[in-house]
C-alpha cells in the first residue's frame, strides 16, 4: 500500500512539474481517439476521413482550449452526416445548436463530458462518467452528462438506421425528416439513461460531501447501485429490454475504474509549476514557483539567483527548494 502511495506522490510531482507538456499531449490523444472513432463510425466524407487531416486537427486541438475538441468533433460529425444525408445533418445540427445555445453557452467547466461520454459508450463503460462527475464535479454536471447522453443517442440512432435512411428516396425529404426526429424524440432508452445518469451524479455528489469516513467509496457504491436500479426500473416500465448482464457488468467495471480514478485524481486543486514575469521600478522579475509535494525521499537543490544588472553584481540569499 505504501509503495502505491509513494508512486502516487511521484506521479503527482512529475505531473506538477511537467504539466506544461503533459496537458497538450493528453489533449492531442483525446482529440485523436475521438476523431478516429468518429471517422470509423461515420466515415461518409472522404476528405476528412484521412489520417493526415485527423492528425493535423488533433495537433491544433492540443494547444487550443479544451472546448475546441468539442467544437471539432461536432464539425466532423456534421460534415460526415451532410455527405450522407442533408436531413440528418439538419436535425443533428439543430440538436447541437440547441445544446449550445441553451446550456453550453454558460461554459461549464465540464463541456468535455459531451465528448467523453459518447467515447465511453463506444468502449462499453459509459457508467464511469456519471460516477466520476459526481465525485469531481458539481450538481450541474448532471446537465452536462445529460447533454453527452443526448449527443451519443442522436449519433447512435443515425448509424443504426443508416441503411433505412439511405434507402428512402431522395424526394422523400419530409418523410426522412419525420423518421429522424421520431427516432430522437421517442427514444425511451435515451430518456431512461438520462434519468439514471442524472440521478447517479446527484447521489454521488451528495454522498461524497458528507464528512464521514470513506465518504467517496460510499458515494461511488451508492451511485453504481442507483444507476443499476434506475436502468432496471426504466427497463421494466418502458420495456426497453436492455441486457441485464451487460448493465451490471458495465457498472461493476465502471465502479472499479472510478476507484482507480479516485486514487490518482483525488483532489482537483493540485498546484502546478508557475512561471510568472513582472517588474517594478528596480528589477525585472522572472519567477518560477515549483509546488511542494511531499515525496518519500528528500531531494535538495540550492540555486543562486543574482541580479542581471552589470556593475552591481548583487546576489540574493540562496534559495532552497526540495
Amino acid at each position: 500500500m505504501t509503495t502505491l502511495l509513494v508512486a502516487k506522490q511521484v506521479l503527482m510531482t512529475i505531473y506538477s512539474k511537467y504539466e506544461v507538456y503533459i496537458t497538450p499531449l493528453l489533449k492531442f490523444l483525446l482529440a485523436l481517439i475521438t476523431l478516429v472513432l468518429i471517422n470509423s463510425r461515420l466515415g461518409y466524407m472522404e476528405t476528412i476521413d484521412r489520417m493526415t487531416v485527423v492528425l493535423i486537427v488533433a495537433l491544433m486541438c492540443s494547444f487550443m482550449p479544451m472546448n475546441f475538441i468539442v467544437l471539432m468533433s461536432a464539425v466532423f460529425v456534421l460534415l460526415h452526416l451532410y455527405t450522407f444525408s442533408m436531413e440528418c445533418a439538419a436535425v443533428i445540427g439543430a440538436g447541437f445548436l440547441l445544446l449550445f445555445l441553451l446550456y453550453l453557452r454558460f461554459s461549464p467547466k465540464d463541456t468535455v463530458v459531451v465528448v467523453l461520454l459518447p467515447l465511453c459508450f463506444l468502449l462499453r463503460i459509459p457508467y464511469v462518467i456519471p460516477i466520476s462527475m459526481g465525485l469531481v464535479g458539481a450538481p450541474t454536471s448532471a446537465v452536462s452528462v445529460a447533454c453527452g447522453v443526448m449527443v451519443y443517442y442522436m449519433i447512435h440512432y443515425v448509424t443504426q438506421n443508416a441503411t433505412v435512411i439511405a434507402a428512402m428516396a431522395d424526394e422523400e425529404t419530409a418523410a426522412k425528416f419525420k423518421f429522424i426526429i421520431d427516432g430522437l424524440m421517442k427514444n425511451r432508452e435515451m430518456v431512461v439513461t438520462i434519468a439514471a445518469f442524472a440521478m447517479t451524479v446527484i447521489v454521488v455528489y451528495l454522498l461524497r460531501r458528507l464528512s464521514i469516513d470513506y465518504a467517496w467509496t460510499i458515494a461511488m457504491t451508492a451511485g453504481a447501485v442507483v444507476n443499476i436500479m434506475v436502468l432496471l426500473v426504466g427497463d421494466l416500465i418502458f420495456e426497453i429490454n436492455q441486457p441485464l448482464i451487460s448493465v451490471i457488468l458495465g457498472t461493476v467495471i465502471s465502479f472499479l475504474l472510478a476507484l482507480v480514478l479516485q486514487f490518482f485524481v483525488f483532489y482537483v486543486d493540485y498546484s502546478r509549476t508557475e512561471k510568472v514575469q513582472f517588474e517594478d521600478d528596480e528589477y525585472y522579475y522572472y519567477v518560477k514557483a515549483v509546488p511542494k509535494v511531499t515525496v518519500a525521499k528528500p531531494d535538495k537543490k540550492v540555486k543562486q539567483i543574482s541580479s542581471t544588472r552589470s556593475g552591481t553584481g548583487r546576489s540574493t540569499r540562496p534559495t532552497h527548494h526540495s
Partner: protein, 132 residues
C-alpha cells in the same frame, strides 16, 4: 533591494492574474447591473434563436399536414399560443440566467476583493521601503 516577502506576494498575485484572476478581472471591470444586464440580453437572444429552431422543426415535422391545416385553423389563435409559449420559455430562461450571472458576479467580486487587498498590501510595502 530585494524584499523576499514582497517578491512572494507579487508572485502570488501574478499567478492569480494569469489564471483564475483573468476571468474575475474581466467580470469585475463591469458594474453589477451592466454585467448581468448584458449577459441576460445575450441569453434572451440565444433563447429566441433556440425557440425559432424548435418551432421550425415542429413545422417541418408534419409539414404536409400543417400545409393542409393552415387554411382551416384559426391563425390568430395559433399565433397567440405561439407568442405565449415564446414569452413563457424566454422569460423562464432569462430568469435562470439572471440567477446564474448574479451568482457569478458575486463570486468574482469576492475573489477580486482579496486581490485588491493584496494590492494595497503591496503598495504599503513599497511605501514603507521608500520611507526607510
Amino acid at each position: 533591494m530585494l524584499n523576499e516577502e514582497r517578491v512572494v506576494l507579487m508572485t502570488k498575485m501574478a499567478s492569480y492574474e494569469a489564471h483564475e484572476g483573468k476571468k474575475c478581472l474581466a467580470i469585475g471591470s463591469y458594474f453589477r447591473n451592466d454585467y448581468i444586464g448584458w449577459q441576460v440580453l445575450k441569453s434572451i437572444i440565444s433563447a429566441t434563436i433556440a425557440f425559432v429552431v424548435v418551432f421550425a422543426m415542429y413545422i417541418f415535422y408534419d409539414f404536409e399536414i400543417f400545409m393542409t391545416e393552415i387554411y382551416k385553423m384559426d391563425l390568430l389563435e395559433f399565433a397567440k399560443n405561439v407568442l405565449f409559449l415564446y414569452l413563457g420559455t424566454v422569460g423562464a430562461y432569462a430568469l435562470i440566467s439572471y440567477g446564474i450571472y448574479a451568482v457569478r458576479y458575486s463570486r468574482a467580486s469576492k475573489s477580486l476583493r482579496a486581490y485588491y487587498m493584496n494590492l494595497h498590501k503591496l503598495s504599503a510595502m513599497y511605501k514603507n521601503e521608500r520611507n526607510g
